[in-house]
């Protein structure tokens, strides 16, 4: 092979860049997964309450985010939302930092899938369990907490892990709005070193090393919840 690989060149002097990029990717992934989970629980509960004025808006939210590309969402929140906010808020005093706008987009994207996962887990629990809980005098909250959720959570974990893996990969899209995550760092290092083969290979390997164990863990959980 005529190409001479040189990984030293892309790391030496750039250690700090890489570390920061990795940190930002992990932070975005964790924060948006965590935020999405929270949205999922709240919106999932809202859907289960069977009140049209609750479930109507939640459905609109879920379908909007499910049926538009996440790249479009990130770009919209980064470029379009600030303009909209300035137009709506008189005086235009409301500044939305770039990193936050992009993060909100990713969080809402995760949230719409988490909502479906949460609702799906709950309604997968046999109706007999619900009526038995009510028959011994439990309130709705007691039934949810002691009977339905403990069983449902076990079923929610595998799809949630899968969605989190997807979410982790989606953070790479942040590079289009110049958030210095792992992917964008790679872009910067390439501009500096002209070594795209090493850089983008290293970036891919970094994602793989983090996510492969996560997917394997997800598979194990899935096998366990079948039992």
């Amino acid at each position: 092979m005529g190409y001479k690989w040189d990984f030293y060149m892309i790391f030496a002097g750039y250690e700090w860049w890489w570390l920061k990029g990795l940190g930002i990717t992990v932070a975005y992934a964790s924060a948006t997964v965590g935020g999405g989970l929270l949205i999922g629980v709240v919106c999932g509960m809202g859907l289960l309450a069977n009140r049209w004025w609750l479930s109507g808006p939640i459905h609109v939210y879920v379908e909007t985010f499910r049926c538009t590309p996440v790249l479009v969402q990130i770009v919209w929140f980064y470029f379009a939302l600030p303009i909209l906010l300035n137009a709506v808020v008189p005086g235009g005093g409301l500044e939305l930092p770039a990193w936050l706008a992009a993060g909100i987009g990713l969080t809402l994207y995760m949230g719409c899938f988490a909502t479906e996962i949460f609702r799906g887990g709950i309604i997968s629990i046999d109706k007999g369990q619900w009526q038995a809980a009510r028959a011994i005098g439990m309130t709705y909250a007691e039934m949810m907490w002691h009977i339905v959720l403990p069983q449902a959570v076990r079923r929610m974990v595998p799809p949630f892990v899968n969605q989190s893996v997807i979410q982790f990969k989606n953070t790479a899209l942040l590079y289009v709005v110049a958030v210095p995550d792992l992917m964008y760092t790679g872009y910067l290092v390439v501009a500096d070193t002209y070594r795209p083969l090493e850089v983008y290979s290293a970036v891919a390997i970094a994602y793989f090393v983090i996510l492969y164990p996560l997917t394997q863990w997800g598979k194990r959980l899935e096998a366990r919840s079948d039992r």
Partner: protein, 279 residues
């Protein structure tokens, strides 16, 4: 063995009089266009065993589920001991926690057992005491262990539902209902999902409860149970109470033609003949 039930029989306004423990008047329940229950009225006295029989889809389950408000009736009244509910007047009805606690005055056992799948046998019997009645876990556990022994499941405390046979699961379900010290026990075809050889062990437990003075409303296709244990038999058809009387009256000499048609099927097919054995 005693029924550790403070209200039946003995205490409470219903005891020692003809004043029924449970009084149902003109109960109606529809699902959309389907009128499942159409004006059912009956009484249950303390310590009495009332068996409801009738063809599939005639509204037996719906009637039971209306009693403990798993379904909200559209019309009619229900009085349990001191508490009267008028379903035409929603403002008199309990809601939220109040409704949940009213429901706990009934114990219900279901066809499919419906044990809490993530809990062991003893946890199934404890959870209502701990969560609903706020009994200390140690005390609840002792009571649960006693109840499991009472239904013949000593030493099975730590089994999961899937590690128990259908008959054993159903007996745990009965113990779970008893743990709440209910005033009235409701049984909805509790032996219908069981293999034939397991039916007896569950019926035996129910028979013991009846003997100990528990107040019971039992929906069943087990004609021998109706014949041997029921104080009164109600025959339902198409959402209405068609006939009511002692087991002998309803099952041996039914006056209503619909009852006769229904029972004829059992006379023909069954190994045992309720028409002769029950008299």
């Amino acid at each position: 063995m005693t029924v550790d039930n403070p209200r039946t029989p003995g205490a409470g306004a219903a005891a020692g009089t003809d004043h029924p423990m449970l009084a149902v008047r003109d109960l109606c329940k529809s699902y959309g266009d389907v009128e499942a229950v159409r004006g059912v009225s009956f009484d249950v006295r303390a310590g009495e065993v009332v068996v409801i029989i009738g063809p599939s889809g005639c509204g037996k389950s719906t009637t039971l589920r209306c009693l403990n408000l798993l379904e909200e009736p559209n019309r009619g009244t229900l009085r349990l001991d001191d508490r009267e509910l008028d379903f035409s007047n929603r403002r008199t009805l309990p809601a939220g926690r109040d409704l949940a606690r009213f429901r706990a005055r009934f114990g219900m056992v279901f066809q499919q057992f419906d044990l809490f799948a993530h809990k062991t046998a003893i946890e199934n019997v404890m959870i209502g005491q701990v969560v609903v009645k706020k009994i200390r876990p140690e005390r609840a556990q002792a009571a649960a262990r006693d109840l499991l022994r009472r239904v013949g499941l000593e030493g099975m405390d730590d089994r999961r539902p899937r590690e128990l046979s259908g008959g054993q699961q159903q007996r745990v379900a009965i113990a779970r209902a008893l743990a709440m010290s209910p005033e009235v026990l409701l049984f909805d075809e509790v032996t219908s999902a069981l293999d034939p050889e397991l039916v007896g062990e569950v019926l035996e437990v129910m028979q013991d409860l009846a003997r100990e003075g528990a107040t019971m409303v039992v929906v069943t296709h087990e004609m021998s149970f109706a014949r041997d244990v029921a104080d009164r038999v109600l025959f339902m058809d198409q959402g209405q109470l068609v006939e009511e009387g002692t087991a002998a009256e309803v099952m041996v000499n039914p006056r209503n033609p619909r009852t006769r048609t229904f029972l004829a099927r059992y006379h023909r097919g069954a190994q045992e003949d309720p028409g002769q054995g029950g008299a």
